[in-house]
């Protein structure tokens, strides 16, 4: 991808984000239901309510509200949360790292597990084990993260309580974190107790998010590997005396990751969406969990901010995937 096309993509991204922002903005304001009414005591006078509406700018015309919001966005002012009475940017800054650590863990898990299953599946071609693996993989493809999350809750909560089921850190650990990146920070401080605890809390939501991703990767990568394995260059490499494992890893894998990567990118954006419900189920203090609370409380500024962040994440991931795909393709790199 050339520099200009990256710029084009970014320009398109900004436009799409504007579209997303506009849709949410209008959607939230054209429907009945006054957010201010929800946050004020029943004894408040109409004057109090009007003052509060003016304070949040809700008395202005819709178009003006939108442009004011845009202008503030340019100054990195996302407004103030109505229900939590704190800056939206600050709230997102506290919660987003938790979500990023979770999605990153799930991505790593999905790629590793899916990759291992795909390679094993190709090595086990035409054995009974292959059929078993395909069947199990089919189950993981058919059933979404929501159901897996709850199944994991059952497994760990009732049968085998080895991992914590909620939160991000054991409250008994009294470490003061300077950053919201608990995992990175505890790693950087070599505080292994904290690292272990943060990881333990990550295991369940990571599995719930990562298993469907792993299943998708396993299936597409296995198909692509199967196609690559019958190519002439693999035959020639086999005749050079390479072992089957090496044939898969060295000859076939690099040609098979291209198509898989694109799909992984798409699936990864789905996974970001999946954090909303998975964080809810595991009471994980990320941005998705906060989004649901914000919606339930009709917290307009917070909802707008979170939706924008999600939209931005989608777009960044898509561009990143394209860039990586280009790098992996030698034709594009040198041709």
């Amino acid at each position: 991808m050339t520099l200009t096309s990256v710029f084009n993509r970014l320009a398109m991204a900004v436009l799409t984000l504007l579209g997303v922002g506009l849709v949410v903005f209008v959607l939230l304001r054209v429907v009945p239901g006054d957010p201010v009414a929800m946050m004020i005591s029943p004894s408040a006078t109409p004057a109090d309510i009007a003052a509060l509406r003016a304070h949040y700018g809700l008395d202005l015309p819709l178009a003006e509200q939108f442009f004011l919001w845009l202008r503030d966005l340019l100054h990195l002012d996302f407004g103030t949360s109505i229900s939590l009475r704190r800056g939206v940017l600050q709230l997102i800054g506290e919660r987003l790292p938790a979500t990023l650590e979770l999605t990153f863990a799930a991505l790593v898990f999905g790629i590793l597990a899916g990759g291992i299953v795909a390679v094993a599946g190709v090595l086990l071609r035409r054995t009974p084990l292959e059929a078993v693996m395909d069947f199990v993989n089919g189950l993981f493809l058919a059933v979404p993260d929501f159901v897996w999350a709850l199944a994991l809750v059952l497994l760990v909560g009732v049968l085998w309580p080895i991992f914590p089921l909620s939160g991000r850190l054991d409250p008994a650990l009294s470490t003061d974190f300077y950053t919201p990146f608990y995992l990175l920070e505890s790693l950087a401080r070599f505080n292994w107790t904290d690292v272990g605890d943060v990881l333990a809390h990550l295991v369940m939501p990571t599995l719930a998010l990562g298993l469907p991703l792993a299943a998708v990767i396993a299936r597409t990568l296995k198909e692509a590997l199967g196609e690559a394995m019958v190519q002439d260059y693999v035959l020639l490499a086999r005749l050079k005396g390479m072992s089957e494992t090496r044939l898969v890893l060295q000859e076939a894998l690099r040609n098979a990751v291209g198509p898989t990567l694109t799909l992984t990118g798409v699936q990864f954006t789905f996974m970001i969406g999946g954090t909303v419900i998975v964080e809810r189920i595991f009471a994980y203090p990320g941005i998705g969990n906060m989004a649901i609370d914000a919606v339930i409380n009709r917290d307009l500024p917070l909802i707008q901010g979170i939706v924008l962040v999600f939209g931005a994440l989608f777009i960044v991931i898509n561009i990143a995937v394209d860039l990586i795909a280009d790098r992996l393709n030698p034709r594009q790199l040198h041709g």
Partner: protein
Amino acid sequence: MADVAVSAPVTVVNRRFRSLRPLLREPRVVWAGGFLIALALVAIFAPWIAPKDPLEQDLMMASLPPIGFEGYEPGYYLGTDDLGRDVLSRIIFGARIALTVSLVAASLAGLIGSLLGLASGWYRGWTDRIVSRLVDIWMSFPPVLLSVLLVAVMGAGLHSVIIAIAIIDWTRFSRVVRAETLAQSSLDYVTAAEAIGFSRRHILWREILPNVAPVIIALLSLEMGIAVIVEAILSFVGLSISSDAPTWGGMVAQGRQVLHESWWVLVFPLVTLFATVLAFNLLGNGLRNALDPVMRR
């Protein structure tokens, strides 16, 4: 010449419809379809099948374990929740809500998406550009967040859930139907129909739609599975109908709360949910396989 042109479209359509019979030879269709028909019958005849009233609370009978466990009370086969409501009866009545939502929501999404997909694939031009741009914007919303948002905006309730699913998931249909329409419109039978002098609209409805229909049917089944999950998620979050009503998602949410005291409140609705989603998925993929082996995702 005219003879050839007339017979060509007819044979293509006939082949598609005759191919409905091999469906029964596709095991996925038979098993998943059988399960779903049974589930639908259970839902329809719920008042006669369910052993208890799904809403009746009885604190004397609260948190009873299912059959085969110590403390089991006869008649409460799958135990009771912390308010003493019969889990089995709630699952049976929950099937009504789940299947209604999935049928109506998937049909709506299918209707909107298929119409837009047919239009943009057949007429192309600005129709196609607008629809494709809309799909792009839609795809950059996380669907769960969008559904929660829509339901919150419209107010909790079954109608909102159905409308939210339709609004979010029409893109699944429009993308595939558009691609399929594009592919069909380059085939010879369309050229033959044009040569006879049929109108564009006539060709779309009478020649192309019957050939795209199998794809839409398969997608409908997959979408119904998705709708069941979305309804469950919204009930779980507390945005579907009132928490009294027996929804699978609501039961699962409740089960999550009382997990350590009474695991059965979570297990049975979750297993039902699992089986239903799996069945819709298998049915959809089986249909896709049997009806149209070249369909793209």
